[in-house]
Each structure stands twice: as structure tokens, then as C-alpha cells.
């Protein structure tokens, strides 16, 4: 499938999804509640067969906490990017996709550690790189630390 067909496929499942396209990837932005269903459809539908999740990224973009999924089909050789985000900074919760792609477990754990995004359904969400008693999430844009960070004006 080329990008146009994938776009139609995603729009058929989630009519309110928005799309953007660059030289490499087609990316679809969806609501957090629709994400798990969309990824399940993309993985299991024989037309798309996205069986390989090659990256998950956490991001803090213009006040929104986002998670970006890069998917590839190893048999049909096409890729797609799915983005989701929430403006809720106090309690950002997304559905975990570890039941679809078990490789997502460590990625989601890392995003929780550094961005504080909670993945509902993750088997073992914990501090991974930071000490267990660390306060705050250091990769958020509004993270401050007077002791360790010297601000450059």
C-alpha cells in the first residue's frame, strides 16, 4: 500500500484523524482514546499488516505531551507514523500497547521515566534511568532543578 491508501484506511477507521506528510512518512494524529483500536486494526488487518513497531518517542510539544509511534510492515514494506497527545500535564494517561507489541514495554517505561506519561495496562511501569526517589520528569520543557541545572540566559 502506498501512503494514499494508508491514509484512506486510517480515515475509514477514525474519520476525525488529521494527516501530514513529509518526504519519508505519512503521519496521522489521533485522540488518545482511539489510539489502541487504530494500532490494533493496523496490525491485524491483512491489507496493512503493520507487524513491526520500530520506535516510540515521547515529546513535549507546545504544551502538549505527545507519544509518537513508528510502524512498519515487514511483509508489505510500508511505514506509517501515528501520533497522539494530550494537554493534560497533571495526569497524562494513554493506553499501553504492550499487548500488541511486547517490544514497546521498555520504550513506554523510558517515556514514563523521563516525561511522566502513564501507560495504562503496562505490566511494570517504574523508574528506569532515574533513581527510584527522583522527583519530577527531567525531559519535560517546564522541568526545573536549581541544584543541578545552570540556566544559560
Amino acid at each position: 500500500m502506498d501512503n494514499t491508501n494508508i491514509k484512506e484506511f486510517v480515515a475509514r477507521h477514525i474519520p476525525e484523524a488529521t494527516f501530514e506528510e513529509n518526504k519519508q512518512f505519512l503521519s496521522a494524529t489521533v485522540e488518545p482514546s482511539k489510539l489502541h483500536g487504530l494500532l490494533k486494526a493496523l496490525k491485524e488487518n491483512p491489507e496493512t499488516l503493520f507487524d513491526y513497531l520500530f520506535c516510540i518517542t515521547g515529546a513535549d510539544v507546545q504544551g502538549k505531551l505527545m507519544v509518537i509511534y513508528h510502524l512498519e510492515s515487514t511483509t508489505l514494506k510500508h511505514q506509517v507514523v501515528v501520533k497522539t497527545g494530550t494537554p493534560d500535564r497533571e495526569n497524562p494517561v494513554f493506553d499501553s500497547i504492550t499487548d500488541l507489541f511486547s517490544g514497546a514495554e521498555l520504550h513506554e517505561n523510558e517515556i514514563f521515566d523521563l516525561f511522566g506519561i502513564i501507560f495504562k495496562g503496562h505490566p511494570n511501569l517504574r523508574r528506569m534511568f532515574m533513581p527510584d526517589d527522583w522527583k519530577g520528569y527531567p525531559l519535560r520543557k517546564d522541568y526545573t532543578d536549581e541544584v543541578n541545572i545552570v540556566e544559560l540566559s
Partner: protein, 190 residues
């Protein structure tokens, strides 16, 4: 400035190392011991980032610091004489570094190699995870600037350490005893 142009007095870093105060009976023995110690300084296999690549290059055949008696990397701190801190020390690594240092047998020496080990280097600003200099965790004998230093710089640093060892007083023990108030146990994170 070559190493030969540096005077011995440049290395009189503490009163303990002053040759004038040494027991005269011990001086010959001391010379022998210091000669032995300074010519077999075995480093610990310990590197935390890119300076480690230069350290490996220094140990490999082209530069070959075995020429200076830094004969072989030891994979256990109990057999190592010097720890070359080659790379960034983050907060999670600090207790590990302190423990490795504590496990080394006296006399032990520390070389801080590169900007990260000296001051935190490029990570001095705007980071939450990096310790600004390994000397906040353990005492350092020789600092080698560079990012990373070339193998020649490390060789020069090792020769400086040898000069320092040759000033050592075997009766006084370590050159600068570690003050537990200055270097407290870092918090455990595991």
C-alpha cells in the same frame, strides 16, 4: 615544556611529601620502593564514555603505555593501582565509582581524564544527571584536560603521576589521606 624541565619541587604538594623531612635511614629503601611503584602502575578497566576509546588507543600497540610500566589493565579494583576516570560521571555512577575506589588497595592513584571527569565538561550546564567533576566523589591526583585528550596527553599525565609517586614517603602512607568529611559516601540509588 618538556617533562624534564619540571623541577622536583613542583611536586611537593603536601608537607608529607617533602624529602627534607624523610628519615635518613629510610631514604635508600624509599627510593627503591618508589622506583618500583612508579614503574608498575596498573590501571583499572574502567571507562564511562568516549575518553575510554582514547584510553584503549593509549594501551594499544601504536602508543603502548606498557612502555611506561602501565603494563596491563586489571579487571578488578583489588589488583589495580590507578583508576583512570575516562568519561562522564553521572549521579547514578557516583556510588559505583566510590565503591571501586574504596576497593582498591593502597597505594592508589586517580587520574581524571578529559573535560567531563574534571568539571562535567560540555554537560556542566542544563543537565540534571551529571556530576561536575569526579573530584567531588573521590580525590584526584592528576588532571588531563582535553575532549577527549589525545593518547600523548594521557601518556604525559601518566608520566606526571609517576613523578608524583616518586616523591612519595613510604613512612607517611598515602600522599594525601582521604578526608571522610570532604568525600562523604554518595547516596545509594539501588
Amino acid at each position: 615544556m618538556g617533562i624534564k624541565s619540571m623541577k622536583e619541587t613542583d611536586f611537593h604538594v603536601s608537607p608529607d611529601t617533602d624529602r627534607q623531612k624523610t628519615n635518613i635511614v629510610l631514604t635508600t629503601v624509599e627510593n627503591l620502593v618508589n622506583w618500583g611503584r612508579s614503574n608498575s602502575v596498573w590501571p583499572l578497566t574502567f571507562a564511562t564514555s568516549c575518553c575510554g576509546i582514547e584510553m584503549m588507543a593509549t594501551g594499544a600497540s601504536r602508543h603502548d603505555f606498557a612502555r611506561f610500566g602501565v603494563e596491563v589493565y586489571r579487571a578488578t579494583p583489588r589488583q589495580a593501582d590507578v583508576i583512570i576516570i575516562a568519561g562522564t560521571i553521572v549521579h547514578k555512577m557516583a556510588p559505583v565509582l566510590k565503591r571501586l575506589y574504596d576497593q582498591m588497595a593502597e597505594p592508589k592513584y586517580v587520574i581524571a581524564m578529559g573535560a567531563c571527569a574534571i568539571s562535567g565538561g560540555p554537560f556542566f550546564y542544563n543537565t540534571y544527571s551529571v556530576i561536575r567533576g569526579a573530584d567531588q566523589v573521590i580525590p584526584v591526583d592528576v588532571y588531563i584536560p582535553g575532549c577527549p585528550p589525545r593518547p600523548e596527553a594521557l601518556l604525559y599525565g601518566i608520566m606526571q603521576l609517576q613523578r608524583k609517586i616518586q616523591q612519595g614517603n613510604i613512612a607517611a602512607g598515602r600522599i594525601e589521606p582521604v578526608d571522610p568529611e570532604e568525600y562523604p559516601e554518595p547516596p545509594k540509588v539501588y
